[in-house]
């Protein structure tokens, strides 16, 4: 590493761009959240309402409900994605024929436009003209109310997210697995360890840093879930699949209660950040001091 005043020339364009494109609007959003602005008052100036909006948010049961819904979706989706992604990755570390083909096929769902695929899933899960219920009925099983029943709709959302994002876990964990050292495995064979012991004490342990990184990244992204909800259920039935992002959007850009939705957005962000910090501290207890 060297030092030279030219370093600012390299970094400043990036920092300035981010400040203008991200920080400045966020600052404006904070200002909004301290007002009681609604779109009907567009012409008039911005009033100052202090923290009243925040107080209102904290008393908004629909907000807490959306937080709960978001948490459920993230928890189940990310857990499933990790477990299955890891399983698939483990299988593909073996020298199977055609594994390159499998890898490519596995990767595609993650890379294509998420909203559009969610829309395609809507046709697949369609209760009267979709293939899944049709097959179930032909097998004399009852059709499932994929998108019209409270709990089942949640499951559908989780399933679509799982379909889209397991490849992410898979590809990162696979790369991690492929870069693990071989020596511990040879030692384990000599010591007569069982396959489960090998996995639990060698593979899983050595993979821990990568697992933590990928879980954190995916969790952060998962909390932002919005397009899938928008396309599949619009938060319904009722508000059973209404995530916090979606509720914020409704209040802000459908009902145009800009001040209130800004306050809600920041409350959400604060809760999210605190939760993530706790989560990452819990996960990283066991790693030696390294950067994320």
């Amino acid at each position: 590493m060297t030092d030279s005043p030219v370093k600012y020339a390299f970094v400043l364009p990036g920092v300035l761009t981010m400040i203008v494109i991200v920080i400045f609007p966020v600052g404006y959003a904070i200002r909004l959240s301290l007002s009681s602005w609604e779109i009907s008052a567009f012409g008039s100036g911005l009033d100052f309402a202090g923290l009243t909006q925040y107080a209102a948010v904290l008393q908004d049961t629909r907000f807490w409900h959306s937080l709960f819904v978001t948490f459920i979706i993230v928890f189940f989706a990310v857990s499933l994605e990790y477990v299955i992604g890891l399983s698939l990755a483990l299988i593909l570390t073996v020298e199977l024929r055609g594994r390159r083909v499998f890898r490519v096929i596995f990767l595609v769902p993650m890379m294509v436009t998420a909203v559009i695929m969610a829309l395609v899933w809507r046709t697949v899960l369609h209760e009267s003209i979709g293939p899944i219920n049709d097959i179930l009925i032909r097998l004399s099983l009852p059709g499932i109310p994929w998108l019209s029943h409270n709990t089942v709709a949640l499951i559908s959302i989780i399933m679509v997210d799982f379909w889209q994002w397991t490849p992410f876990m898979f590809i990162i964990l696979l790369a991690g697995l492929l870069s693990l050292p071989q020596d511990p495995y040879e030692a384990a064979v000599i010591d007569g360890a069982s396959p489960w012991q090998v996995f639990r004490y060698i593979t899983f342990e050595l993979l821990y840093p990568v697992s933590v990184a990928v879980l954190l990244i995916r969790t952060i992204e998962a909390f932002k879930i919005m397009g899938t909800i928008f396309v599949l259920t619009s938060g319904g039935p009722g508000t059973s699949t209404e995530t916090s992002s979606y509720y914020i959007w409704i209040r802000g850009l459908k009902e145009f209660q800009l001040g209130y939705s800004a306050a809600m957005a920041f409350t959400y962000l604060i809760i999210l950040t605190i939760g993530l910090i706790i989560f990452s501290k819990l996960l990283r207890k066991r790693i030696s001091p390294r950067k994320l």
């Binding site: 590493m1 370093k7 390299f10 981010m18 436009t113 998420a114 559009i116 395609v120 390294r290």
Partner: protein, 271 residues
């Protein structure tokens, strides 16, 4: 083992297959219940596809162009600014009070925690007052901010893996820092730059929320137009055809990226 892999393949591929089959149906074939095999259950027709291009159904050419222009422009700009910053963070020591290189890198990445809605609301108000709503420029600007943290993160790690002795040697020989960057490091980073660029394109191409909030009809991108058609009396057959056409480029890019990802081009970021 194969069974598991094949099972997942079926799960992964099924929606695509269903869209493909549905795109060849007429409205009757769809509305009267699920039909599966062309030729056996129903007679395949090309109407959904031809309607797409003739502009009778979902207007797709305009949004296609919008999406291409917006994705490429924002990704190029994000790459240029972001790679410079990544190189700076990789090669130079920063000490701003208690903030060092790692803190600055972390700052870039932490911006990704922000849910789109948080920032979309002020964007809406700001772009509205600048009369920039429903323009390509607004989306390009937003996507630069959206993609740059990723560029900085991936490229910094990539540059870290290129021995600094190489640029230092060039500097000793009289090259400027910028010269060393452009003439030594960049040519060596072609694969990393390419993969990161493709990632930016994929993310811009598929972005929905900002496009939803910041456009009305002139600058709509593909995801928006297709989802927009899915409101009342949904023409599933047209939607299927449109969906497939719109994800085709990114699917191809995905296959291109796959060759690079496993080779370990970007894996340093995760250790």
């Amino acid at each position: 083992m194969y069974a598991t892999l094949v099972l997942w393949c079926i799960f992964a591929v099924f929606p695509f297959l269903w869209a493909f089959v549905t795109s060849f149906k007429t409205d009757q074939d769809v509305v009267n219940g699920a039909t599966y095999f062309p030729g056996i259950d129903f007679k395949p027709v090309l109407s959904a596809w031809t309607n797409l291009f003739s502009g009778e159904s979902i207007p797709i050419i305009g949004p296609y162009l919008n999406t291409v222009v917006i994705s490429i422009t924002s990704s190029l700009l994000a790459m240029m600014i972001g790679s410079l910053a990544a190189y700076g963070l990789s090669r130079f020591r920063f000490n701003l009070g208690r903030f060092g290189n790692d803190d600055i890198s972390f700052w870039f990445i932490s911006l990704r925690i922000m849910p789109a809605v948080v920032i979309a609301i002020p964007y809406f108000v700001m772009f509205n007052s600048l009369h920039l709503l429903d323009t390509k420029i607004s989306l390009i600007i937003v996507y630069i901010g959206y993609n740059m943290p990723l560029v900085v993160w991936l490229m910094k790690d990539f540059f870290d893996n290129i021995p600094s002795e190489l640029d230092e040697a060039a500097i000793v020989d009289g090259c400027s820092h910028f010269g060393a960057f452009f003439r030594i490091v960049v040519p060596l980073s072609k694969s990393g730059l390419l993969v990161t660029f493709l990632f930016c394109i994929i993310f811009s191409w598929s972005e929905f929320i900002f496009a939803l909030i910041l456009t009305i009809n002139k600058s709509q991108t593909l995801p928006l137009v297709i989802v927009g058609r899915a409101s009342t009396r949904i023409p599933w057959w047209e939607i299927s055809a449109a969906s497939l056409i719109s994800i085709l480029p990114v699917a191809v890019l995905a296959i291109v990226i796959e060759r690079y990802m496993i080779k370990g081009t970007l894996m340093g970021s995760f250790r």
